[in-house]
């Protein structure tokens, strides 16, 4: 019986679409589930019970309906990765991280032995997690070396800075007008903005554009945008921090309104050159010190990754 490849993830945390496309091109049977877009993915999963399935996921292993909706209210019905593994007993389960700053959140490493393969973006993660699960290094999935820039590189200093706004749910709850009011001290300095691909991000893009902010579409590849800018603004705990840092860029983190749990010390330890601003109003673009480093981010090896998934 022919194998079905199930690609599974949540909204902006689903990073597997390029691999899905490649497998479709190769004539494989694939199902793609973004559990936030599909209203009831449970029924789709249940149909796979008893079928030969290879599960490929970038979702948090334990993010089930209840724990997710506690943070992000949604009408979608879905299973956690652990529930899917338990239900369909896949032939193979493969995990890609969607967050380079924190590939696994607290306690997830205890569950890694439920997977068959961890496709690591690189060190130090390969060494750390290989003790729990078979690990292969394939580079960072969001960094494609053959990508061509979709726009010309900007030169003016104000155009060289971009804010990848994270913790978007906070601003979504706050509303567009209030959010602009809060963020204006930075946005009015000519800093471009890219929002995460999330429900409601389109409306924010339109509103901020009308206010004169240079917005990049949420669908754009973040790593590509990082490569095209010199100063990268982040907030909260975001994969962008590591992507920018390992790309050798001057990286700023705005701590106001963001939540870090107990991870602030980890950030400071892992990214010693990360520049923190406690308040939005403290940020002055011309005064940001340049702290660039040698880039170490490895581009994604699609062929290698696909061979690990298929074979």
């Amino acid at each position: 019986m022919k194998k079905t490849f199930l690609f599974y993830g949540f909204g902006a945390e689903y990073v597997l679409h390029p691999i899905y496309e490649e497998l479709i091109k190769k004539g494989e049977t694939c199902i793609e589930i973004d559990a936030l877009t599909i209203k009831n993915s449970r029924s789709m999963i249940k149909k796979l019970v008893g079928e030969p399935v290879v599960l490929v996921t970038s979702a948090h292993l334990l993010l089930d309906q209840k724990s997710f909706t506690d943070y992000y209210p949604t009408d979608s019905k879905f299973y956690s990765v652990m529930e899917i593994i338990s239900l369909i007993n896949p032939l193979k389960s493969v995990f890609f991280p969607h967050d380079l700053t924190e590939p696994f959140i607290e306690y997830e490493d205890q569950y890694l032995n439920q997977l068959d393969l961890f496709l690591s973006p690189g060190e130090p993660f390969s060494t750390i997690y290989s003790q729990y699960v078979k690990t292969e290094e394939v580079g960072w999935i969001k960094y494609r070396s053959n990508q061509t820039p979709t726009y010309a590189k900007l030169t003016a200093k104000s155009g060289r800075a971009i804010w990848f706004l994270s913790d978007f749910i906070l601003y979504l709850t706050m509303g567009m007008e209030k959010s602009y009011e809060v963020l204006a001290p930075i946005l009015t300095q000519g800093v471009s903005v890219k929002l995460p691909l999330w429900q409601g991000s389109n409306e924010f893009e339109d509103y901020f554009t009308a206010k004169g902010v240079r917005m990049y579409p949420a669908v754009m590849n973040a790593v590509e945008l990082i490569q095209q800018h010199d100063i990268i603004l982040t907030n909260g705990l975001s994969s962008i921090i590591a992507e920018s840092y390992y790309s050798g860029k001057t990286t700023v983190n705005i701590t106001e309104r963001s939540h870090y749990g107990n991870k602030m010390s980890v950030l400071k330890k892992n990214f010693p050159d990360l520049i923190f601003y406690e308040n939005i109003v403290d940020f002055k673009l011309p005064e940001v010190p340049e702290k660039s480093r040698k880039p170490t981010l490895k581009p994604f090896d699609m062929d290698k990754a696909i061979s690990f998934i298929i074979n």
Binding site: L63, S67, D70, Y71, S86, Q131
Partner: protein, 318 residues
């Protein structure tokens, strides 16, 4: 004039200098005495502290020896003097001593665990006897390994399928991955539960089954206290604490399957363990009336057998 000076000098030498010498000598003497006295005080204080520490260590050693020899009645005043240390030693001693297991206990343990061992790799931790491993082997696993306690610190021995390790060094061992972990001895659970289960969660592929002493009256409360001391002076866990430890160290679902002679087969117990990882722990706060109940007895404990699953059990995925 010269005669006058000479007379004054003579008078000074004769009458003043001795007095001065006596006075200064007395003064220095007193000062030194004071200094020495201070030093002695300090030394005495330190000796006293060292003596006190030595006495404490001797007491703990005596308590340990008593327990190791099997005379572990908690009536001994030593236990009351240093309860925390004594309880710690008690648990280490318990796992080291490996009390004799009755055949009925072993049969009962395997009767009540609803787990198919066929073709699985199984590790039996503690029990102090090969009988658990024999009983497990009869259930058709592909491999049975035993881990037993040795009193020699950091000593790691292997004898056939048995690995000997000092209990608190278990986390330092490099493990293979096991499908099923059996921990039939409650003292091992008492030792390992507060110590991240010695990292066994990451090496358990499917299920951990363990026996534990649990407070009889805190079953479904979210009391922050991890443990009580029961009326035998032993550590007994708060049920919720034990579940939380299991959740934290890699088990999605935890169910109590057996309590002091009674099988547990109800949905309520399953609900208590329904796991909510990212937000923390969703523990049903029920039966909290005990707090106001004058009859509440802090010192009752019961033996329970828990089954902790790595994956959600399919029956409860809605």
């Amino acid at each position: 004039m010269e005669n006058h000076q000479s007379l004054m000098q003579k008078a000074f030498k004769k009458f003043v200098r001795p007095f001065y010498n006596l006075l200064s000598s007395k003064l220095f003497h007193d000062l030194r005495i004071q200094e020495i006295h201070d030093l002695l005080l300090q030394i005495n204080h330190r000796v006293f502290t060292v003596e006190e520490e030595l006495e404490r260590l001797k007491t703990i050693q005596s308590a340990g020896n008593l327990m190791l020899s099997g005379m572990d009645t908690f009536e001994n005043p030593l236990y009351q003097k240093y309860p925390a240390a004594s309880l710690e030693i008690y648990d280490i001693a318990e796992v080291l001593r490996g009390r004799k297991i009755e055949q009925a206990d072993i049969v009962g343990f395997f009767d009540r665990i609803p787990v198919d061992l066929k073709g699985k790799t199984v590790v039996v931790i503690g029990g102090g006897d090969n009988l658990y491993a024999h009983a497990a082997a009869r259930k058709g696993p592909s491999k049975v390994t035993r881990i037993e306690a040795t009193s020699h610190l950091s000593e790691k021995n292997k004898n056939g399928n048995v690995e000997f390790v000092y209990p608190l060094d278990l986390s330092k061992m490099s493990h293979p991955h096991f499908d099923i972990v059996l921990m039939p001895c409650a003292s091992w659970t008492t030792l390992l539960a507060p110590r991240a289960f010695a990292g066994l969660g990451a090496y358990t592929n499917q299920i951990m089954i363990l026996s534990a002493r649990v407070s009889a009256h805190t079953t479904f409360t979210s009391s922050p206290e991890p443990a009580i001391t029961d009326n035998n002076g032993r550590i007994a866990f708060n049920d919720n604490y034990l579940r939380k430890q299991l959740h934290l160290h890699g088990f999605v679902e935890v169910a109590c399957i057996y309590t002091d002679g009674e099988h547990i087969d109800n949905m309520f117990d399953q609900k208590v363990s329904k796991f909510n990882q990212l937000k923390g722990f969703y523990i049903v706060s029920k039966n909290t009336k005990y707090i106001k109940d004058p009859q509440y007895n802090h010192t009752q404990s019961v033996g329970k057998t828990y089954i902790a699953y790595k994956l959600p059990s399919k029956n409860y995925i809605s």
